[in-house]
Symmetry: C2
Subunit: 336 residues, 2 copies
């Protein structure tokens, strides 16, 4: 690969002049400029971004660390983030912590070594597990979707309590009272809030869910399948389920199908965060949806601002509001 020195030699100028031409950072006479340009052309020279970044102490890289790349929700996040990141002039490095705090730790240290300029992180560990977010040592970080009670960090989250409340109220409005849940892990605030929202919504109507109708999943299809299968085998199974995310809802659907139960006739299902495939497949899930694109845009806006302006601004904690999207996975209760 040709270097700036080769170009300088070829054009019989100094490297400073070549640099000035490349970056338009100083006036260069037309004659010299032409010589430089033709030398660049002749040698097929392209400036080394690696060297530039090294010089400037940046990398033009933004890391996206998600909890589970196999989850369509995070696939969409990758899609949205790639678009925004490249619009801001960065490139997106993608990591998958696979819901494992150990992986996340390894990834974060790799992110630091790579010198990524910023990190968009869907955290999977509990709070204490994180290295102190000393801005001297860590690149700017924005937490996405999940957060902990660290008020000194930028976060972009969903009002999970409200999402669960919306979904549960819909079931209550349909007359359901025996409502169960495949919940999210309770060591995450996401899981706690969604469960609390559901229980609060029921309590507001004077209903209490049966403990055996509330089970925790791990956000994944497989475990939701087993847990739902177990729960729905029981004779006193719930007539409706609030499932804490879309992927688990698919697992529940599969369990239903295996048990010969129909949705929505036998069981109504509502979930949160679903990214349904395009229409045509049945049933379409009734769900609360994250405004994913807006959330992603906002997160990257915060991140880029932090990268460019440091700690001048107080931490931003943006909470988005979910909306209920009706599908056909719910039917009125038949048991009063």
């Amino acid at each position: 690969m040709a270097t700036i020195k080769d170009v300088a030699r070829e054009a019989e100028v100094s490297t400073a002049t070549v640099s000035a031409v490349i970056n338009d950072s100083a006036y260069v006479s037309p004659a010299l400029r032409a010589r430089v340009l033709s030398a660049i052309d002749a040698l097929g020279y392209a400036p080394s971004q690696v060297a530039r970044n090294f010089k400037h102490g940046r990398s033009q890289l933004i890391a996206l660390v998600v909890a589970d790349l196999a989850n369509p929700f995070y696939s969409r996040l990758v899609w949205a983030a790639e678009a925004d990141v490249s619009a801001w002039g960065y490139s997106l490095v993608v990591f998958n912590s696979d819901e494992k705090p150990d992986n996340e730790k390894r990834i974060l240290s790799r992110v630091r070594m790579l010198g990524c300029d910023g990190v968009l992180l869907v955290p999977v560990g509990d709070e204490d597990h994180y290295p102190v977010r000393d801005t001297r040592r860590w690149p700017p970080t924005v937490l996405y979707g999940r957060s902990f009670n660290r008020d000194n960090m930028d976060t972009v989250t969903l009002d999970n309590h409200e999402a669960a409340r919306l979904a549960t109220n819909y079931l209550l409005d349909l007359g359901h009272r025996r409502i169960g849940s495949i919940a999210a892990p309770t060591h995450l605030n996401t899981g706690r809030d969604r469960l609390a929202g559901m229980i609060d919504a029921m309590a507001a109507r004077g209903v209490t869910p049966r403990p055996e109708h509330i089970r925790s999943g791990d956000f994944r299809e497989q475990m939701a399948y087993s847990v739902a299968r177990e729960m729905l085998k029981q004779p006193d199974r719930p007539s409706a389920l609030y499932v804490a995310n879309g992927l688990m809802a698919l697992g529940v659907m599969r369990a239903l199908s295996d048990l010969g139960l129909r949705c929505p006739e036998d069981i109504s299902i509502v979930s949160t965060d679903t990214v349904s495939g395009p229409g045509g497949l049945r049933p379409q899930l009734t769900r609360t949806e994250h405004p994913l694109e807006e959330m992603t845009y906002e997160a990257l806006r915060l991140l880029v601002d932090r990268i460019q302006h440091g700690n001048s601004r107080p931490p931003g904690n943006v909470v988005f509001t979910p909306s209920l999207v009706l599908g056909d996975s719910c039917a009125p209760a038949t048991d009063g």
Copy 2:
């Protein structure tokens, strides 16, 4: 951020010694080693990968350039590639060309500037559009899924002709004769091969598809929807469709649903490359599937080998065989 010099000063040794300790690249006496380690600890030092990479002329980055990040097939590719890439000690930078040759061009030049060590590319342009793959100037590249007749490049592809043949034969076996196709763009070999495979399979049974039953899509849901809607409105609509990819199959499903047609009762659908959601949703598409994980692993094996050993090995062109996966989107023909 502390640098190696700070550590050296703190430990009262030379930077060379610190480097030796970090990299275990030379013997260092226990005493000095201890001093260095505690200095590293005290300063919270982590070596700058940027500087290292600059020094070594590499970046530890592998670029993945896909044709459409919104397509679940490529989402799965991201998932598989991330896992393999990180197992090889690299990090994955993701780009989305969005099926646009212009974007791809921009992306490739960015990839070069970033100094990525290798590129896994799903090409979207036609052949001539590509910069000469002069190994002096371009990082090692492996073409994935699509290719062109450049026998001097590493490629990993699917036997598209066979995929279409498998799918079409299944429809023929069910008695269908009025078979149509929502095909892939014919400027890509993928599109040409899939269409040819379908037509050849039909020809082998003495059937010829009607021209108006063959329409090209662009791999996306939206266009497949419109095209299918148009085609299926006609009174002489086909009784079965071979759809060239999974995302388009979903578009077709939506069109069916809008037109009040049922699958498989009114129309049978087979597709290629589908990544169906987990079971439970109906109908499950009958499809040929790519051995995606194996393909991805193989592609990265080729790429890493090329990165590490240069051009010593002749180009590898690995072709994988698709397999037919039965769902419930097909029914026997009712019209003989």
